[in-house]
Amino acid sequence: MSFRTQTTLWIAQRASAAVLALCVVVHLVTIIYAVRGGLTAAEILERTRGNVAWFAFYSLFVLAVTVHAPIGLRTVFAEWLGWSGKSRDWFLLIFAAALAWMGMRAVVGVFA
């Protein structure tokens, strides 16, 4: 992998971290706000179904996780397990796809 790609990955991880910092705060505040006086599935779905702003926000959240986590694991695998090279990067590409699929499945599940 070229130093340009490695540098781009680093920038992508920093940028996604900035997005995540914001998303996590909004997510936590929303949880605390939403559970006042109990929480029901019907109440959640009432808030999320057809809510485009909610859908856009959580899609961005999932995208940021998809970018951030595999790049971080790339370093963890190299430094802790001594696993580097193409096999690691392919594994992480599949892992990123799995995160995106599972995340978006959950988002679409409560939006549609």
Binding site: S2, F3, Q6, T7, W10, T75, A78, E79, W80, S84
Partner: protein, 234 residues
């Protein structure tokens, strides 16, 4: 005082010596005493004895230090001392490490100056007050002792990592207005083996006997590389 000293190469063991205490005694004094009075086969390295040459660094009670500038009073625990070679470098024998990889990495980080003028031309005039020169001054006093390299956990985990000293050197050249190879140097220090591997643990900055901050230099390189990447110059 009881002093445990590493004997052997990569494989070896600590050997214990009894050394008399004196006022203002340094760790280098102790090692020299052992070699001269107790065991002449002990291998260690030093030159200036006054914190200028950077050749006497060792691991003292688990911490990399210049032995010539470390007083026993400050480091001995219960009148005991453990002296080992620097970490992250191959041990040649006893307290002597092979510094080749450490200095090869300076070369890999493009640690050499390349100016654009010849000796026929006038001196470059750089104001000591300019922002760039202040950044150079902050890191230029490195004497290449290897203490930061030995203190760095990332070097232990990632043997290709250029390390704090080489990156600090690269930064002082990136900020040197007379140097003309900035982009080439930024390329050399970018990526998994370069500044982007740094976890900002700051062990280098904590341990540097010259009180330099390679961490700040590495952060500077990350910024410059990001700018160059976004401009498409890298």
């Amino acid at each position: 005082m009881q002093v445990s000293v590493w004997r052997g190469a990569e494989q070896g063991a600590f050997q214990t010596f009894e050394v008399p205490r004196h006022a203002s005694q340094t760790v280098l004094d102790v090692v020299t005493y052992i070699q001269r009075k107790l065991d002449p086969t002990l291998a260690y390295r030093y030159a200036c004895r006054v914190g200028m040459c950077g050749s006497c660094a060792m691991t003292v009670n688990g911490v990399p230090r210049w032995t010539c500038r470390t007083h026993i009073d400050k480091v001995a625990v219960n009148d005991k001392l453990e002296i080992a070679p620097l970490r992250n470098l191959p041990v040649i024998r006893d307290l002597v490490t092979d510094m080749r990889e450490f200095f090869d990495k300076w070369a890999r980080a493009r640690g050499e100056f390349h100016g654009k003028t010849t000796r026929q031309e006038d001196f470059a005039r750089i104001s000591p007050e300019s922002e760039n020169r202040k950044q150079v001054d902050a890191g230029i006093e490195c004497i290449g002792c290897g203490v930061c390299y030995s203190a760095c956990d990332v070097v232990s985990w990632n043997p290709d990592y250029l390390g704090p000293a080489a990156l600090n050197r690269a930064w002082t050249l990136v900020k040197d207005e007379r140097d003309v190879r900035t982009i080439e140097r930024l390329r050399a220090v970018a990526g998994d083996a370069g500044c982007h591997a740094c976890h900002t643990h700051m062990s280098c900055t904590e341990r540097c006997p010259k009180h330099l901050s390679p961490t700040a230099a590495i952060a500077g390189l990350k910024r410059e590389i990001m700018k160059a990447t976004l401009k498409g110059e890298l």
